[in-house]
C-alpha cells in the first residue's frame, strides 16, 4: 500500500505496474493447470511410471519437437509463464509470512523470473536456429 505522507492529493498519480504481474500470474495459472500434469506424467515421470519408453523420449524425437518453431510456445507455456506464476505467489507468500516485503523482495522475485525466462528463451533460440 502506497500512502501519501503529505495528506495532499498527488497531482500526477503513478501508474501501477501490478496489472502486468497479475496478468502473468493468471496466465501462468492456466498453463500450470493445463500443461504441467501432462508434461510431468509423460516426460519427467514417463519412464519411471512406465507410461513411455526410452525410445519415445529419444534425442531425435524430442529435439525435433522442442526446437520446432511451435516449440517456443511450449517453452513459454510450460516454463516461462509458470515461472512468473510461481514467483508472484512467492512474492506474496513472503509478505503473508511476514518474512519480507517492499521493493527489494518484489524485484528479487520478479527479477529472478525475468532472468531465468531470458535464459530459457536464449537456450531455445540458440538450438532452434
Amino acid at each position: 500500500m502506497r500512502t501519501n505522507k503529505q495528506d495532499t492529493p498527488q497531482t500526477t498519480p503513478r501508474r501501477s505496474d501490478e496489472p502486468i504481474w497479475w496478468s502473468l500470474f493468471s496466465a501462468g495459472g492456466v498453463c500450470v493447470a493445463m500443461l504441467v500434469p501432462a508434461i510431468a506424467l509423460l516426460v519427467l515421470l514417463g519412464i519411471p511410471l512406465g507410461l513411455v519408453s526410452a525410445e519415445q523420449l529419444s534425442y531425435q524425437r524430442l529435439h525435433a519437437l522442442v526446437f520446432h518453431p511451435l516449440g517456443l510456445g511450449v517453452v513459454l507455456g510450460a516454463l516461462v509463464l509458470p515461472l512468473f506464476h510461481a514467483m508472484h505467489r512467492i512474492h506474496h507468500g513472503l509478505h503473508d509470512l511476514k518474512l519480507a516485503h517492499g521493493q527489494l523482495a518484489k524485484w528479487l522475485c520478479y527479477g529472478s523470473a525475468i532472468v531465468l525466462s531470458t535464459v530459457a528463451i536464449a537456450l531455445w533460440l540458440l538450438s532452434a536456429f
Binding site: 500450470v32 501432462a38 526446437f67 503473508d96
Partner: protein, 133 residues
C-alpha cells in the same frame, strides 16, 4: 493528523489459526514443487541443446529416486492447483448462453477435459500410437 488508530497485532503464524487460512497457504505452497518442475525443464532444455550424450544423461538424472519424488510432488501440486483454479472460473467469469448461465459443474468438467486432451495430444506427439501397435 495526530489520531493513533488501533492496529491489531498480526503474528506471522496467523495462517495456522483457521482451516481456511491453512488451505490458502497450502495452495500458495503448490508453487514450491512447481519451481522444481521448472528447474527440471530448464535443465532438460539445456541438455537437449548440448547433444545426444547429455540428453541421455538427463534421462538417467530424471530416474534418480529424489528427482522422481520431487517431480511426483510437483504433479500432485499441479493437480491440486488445477482443482482450485477450475472451480474459480465459473465464479469469476460466469458464461451465459442466451438467458441461461452455464452450470458450474459443466465449466469445471470442460476444463478437466482440456487437461485430458493435452495429455492425449502429448502422448500422440511422443509416438504413443506407434509404440503400442
Amino acid at each position: 493528523m495526530s489520531r493513533k488508530p488501533y492496529q491489531p497485532p498480526m503474528p506471522a503464524s496467523w495462517w495456522l489459526k483457521h482451516p481456511a487460512y491453512r488451505f490458502y497457504m497450502l495452495r500458495e505452497a503448490t508453487v514450491l514443487p512447481l519451481l522444481f518442475f521448472v528447474a527440471s525443464l530448464l535443465y532438460g532444455l539445456y541438455a537437449l541443446g548440448q547433444g545426444e550424450a547429455s540428453w541421455l544423461q538427463y534421462l538417467s538424472w530424471l530416474q534418480q529416486p529424489w528427482v522422481i519424488a520431487l517431480n511426483s510432488l510437483a504433479l500432485v501440486a499441479s493437480l491440486f492447483h488445477a482443482w482450485t483454479f477450475f472451480v474459480l472460473f465459473p465464479q469469476v467469469m460466469p458464461l451465459r448462453l442466451g438467458s441461461r448461465t452455464l452450470p458450474a459443474w459443466l465449466m469445471v468438467s470442460a476444463q478437466w477435459a482440456g487437461v485430458l486432451l493435452v495429455f492425449v495430444a502429448l502422448w500422440w506427439l511422443l509416438g504413443g500410437l506407434d509404440a503400442h501397435q
